[in-house]
Amino acid sequence: MRPMRAAAGVPAAVLVLCATLLAADAQAPDHDAGAPAILVSRQLAARAHLAAGDLVTLGSDPQGSRRATFRIAGIYEPTPDPMRFTATRLEARMHLPDLVDLVADPADPASREAVTSISVRLTSPADAASFVPQLAARTPGVAARPTSRARDDDPFAVLDRFHVAISAVTMAGGTAFLLALMVIRAEERRETVGILRLLGISRRTLLLTVAIEGVAIAALGAVFGILLAFATEGLVNRIFQARYDTALVFVRVTASIAARSVLIAAPLGIAAGIAASWTLLRRDVLSIVRR
């Protein structure tokens, strides 16, 4: 078997710290001028009233038995994570050696060598599936997993299927109503259709007219729906972003979604129009004009 080669083995340079913020001090004393730098998340900065340049004391336990002072170099927006959008992102990022100094057990020299995870970028991403068992065989106790999910294992693929199912049900309900409306509309034009038939206009021409009308109505409806979705996209995102305090985008109307809406709506409009008109047109011309 061809040996796998990792292009870059990166022990994370900065880590999210599970620690306790013990104190914050806006006035930096001279002896703390060389305090190591950290970044704090926007949410933590807002919660603890922190700003860039402040000195903070972080401890690895609530009692503060092991603590260190850091200077806030900046505030960052955490990368939106759809798997954790309900979690409040109270986080700080620091250089790995600073974290090790803070949390390593002095009685256990091996603890300075331990990291929570190692990110690896493969030369060929397609080798991920075979790299995982090879690594597990060579280093017992290490659990490796690809960062990209298989389609079956992806919760968002499941949500996607759920949303498609709901859309299908909504379309079914909408189609029933559209048919009912077209039946009323066809009945409304009974006299006109009868006269046109008496004038010699064929069923085929009348059905074609109805089909064109159906396409026009369905396409206009779909375009209106897309415009409404575009108009409300920002509002929906702003509401959910404020609710969960995240930069995650919840709704995005893409060109492919818009195209799919029109492609589904147009045939439905034609079918509803023709089906409703056919109930009238299939009758004898005299019965249409009630003779």
């Binding site: 959008f85 294992d153 109503f177 039946v183 959910f240």
Partner: protein, 399 residues
């Protein structure tokens, strides 16, 4: 002739459009009903799982309810808990990754759960007996159903278990255990393989020089004390412990874990309600516009405004009522399909359901449909009440 009778004759006369409108309301109503079931379904299902386990107090490590971390000094904590008058039973739970090999040579990665004392409720025995009835066995195990199928293991068979503690390089020797029973684990995911044994057997499998700390301590409060009093007593006896009653666990999951489905059900039920209102209102309005001459004739022969308005209200009620009634069985069927889709989500307990019926959902469904029917009939009723009889007759009939 009563307004209801008039409405009935109208819907019978326009049979095709009535049937199509009812079908539309039934489909949209089914979706609305499902969204109501979804709004609290996960919470009810999760509460049921927690209740079925038979414990109403949970003590976890520093990672809270979401991160599984060992509880330092868990054996001492359990002893303290057993001495409290508010507590009836205490069980310790420890979980380790392991490999389980069957007689056929198949080896499968699984979660090895070690429990102390009676842990009835955490799993349901499908075949064989529970751990406490496998007396004399040094390492009795309960094997999950899918794992038993994969290993072709049945009660009485031997399996070999090798503990694989996370983050530790180890090549521990396997221990031989006997399958006491095959069970369904309350919180086990559909794709998760699980095997449970006693805490002593798990300790032997781990090869540690002393018993490790539990990941979870479960307690059952005495009936006369209740969970809240038990939580307070534990916090008094052991300050600093992360102790939760089932209600608090539910509240936490309701705030975080289930928020998405609550939000989506709220958004979708509001949209379906607006959708149903718009469509029924449009249908009734178009239908009334088509029948203006007929309605003016009814008014001309002495049928009052109120009765005509009531007729339209009844028409709306018949469309929405029959559609809404059909929506219930249709919604149940649809819920089964949607539940099956959502339960494919990885890591979810096998017995957790998204759509759970409760009378409250039915009451809200009925209330929403009543409001929709009345609101949808409002505009056509207003149009007919202001209808000039003579002018309409001249325009619609004579013209």
């Amino acid at each position: 002739m009563s307004a209801l009778h008039l409405a009935w004759r109208t819907v019978r006369r326009y049979r095709a459009q009535t049937l199509l409108a009812i079908a539309g309301v039934a489909v949209i109503g089914a979706l609305l009903f499902d969204m109501l079931l979804l709004s609290r379904g996960l919470l009810l299902s999760f509460a049921d799982l927690l209740e079925r386990a038979g414990y109403d107090v949970r003590i976890v490590g520093g990672g809270g309810m979401t991160l599984r971390m060992p509880i330092p000094g868990s054996a001492g904590i359990a002893d303290t808990l057993r001495g409290l008058p508010e507590i009836e039973t205490v069980a310790l739970v420890r979980i380790l990754p392991a490999r389980v090999a069957g007689r056929n040579g198949t080896s499968v990665s699984a979660a090895l759960i070690g429990v102390s004392g009676a842990a009835s409720g955490v799993w349901t025995i499908v075949r064989g007996v529970d751990l406490d009835r496998a007396s004399g066995e040094p390492c009795p195990v309960i094997v999950g159903r899918t794992l038993a199928d994969a290993l072709h293991a049945a009660p009485g068979d031997d399996v070999r278990i090798t503990a694989e503690p996370a983050g530790v390089r180890s090549a521990l020797p396997p221990i031989v255990c006997r399958v006491a029973g095959v069970g369904q684990f309350a919180f086990g995911g559909a794709g998760d393989e699980t095997v449970a044994t006693t805490l002593e057997a798990l300790h032997r499998a781990s090869g540690e020089d002393r018993a490790g700390d539990a990941d979870l301590i479960l307690a059952r409060s005495r009936a006369d004390a209740g969970a809240a009093a038990a939580v307070a007593a534990i916090q008094r006896a052991r300050p600093g412990l992360a102790v939760y009653s089932n209600d608090e666990v539910l509240e936490q999951f309701n705030r975080n874990g289930f928020a998405y489905f609550r939000q989506i059900s709220l958004v979708l039920s509001s949209l379906t309600m607006v959708f149903a209102f718009l469509l029924v209102a449009t249908l009734l309005t178009v239908s009334v516009n088509q029948r203006l001459g007929e309605i003016a004739a009814l008014r001309a022969i002495g049928i009052g405004r109120r009765r005509v308005a009531a007729m339209l209200l009844w028409e709306s009620a018949l469309l929405v009522g029959v559609g809404g009634l059909l929506a219930l069985p249709l919604g149940e069927l649809l819920a089964l399909g949607l539940d099956r889709i959502l339960r494919q989500m990885p890591g979810l307990p096998e017995q957790l359901h998204f759509f759970v019926f409760e009378p409250r959902a039915l009451a809200v469904h009925v209330a929403v449909l009543v409001v929709t029917a009345v609101a949808a009939a409002a505009y056509p009723m207003w149009v007919t009440s202001r209808l000039p009889i003579a002018a309409t007759l001249r325009r619609e009939v004579v013209g």
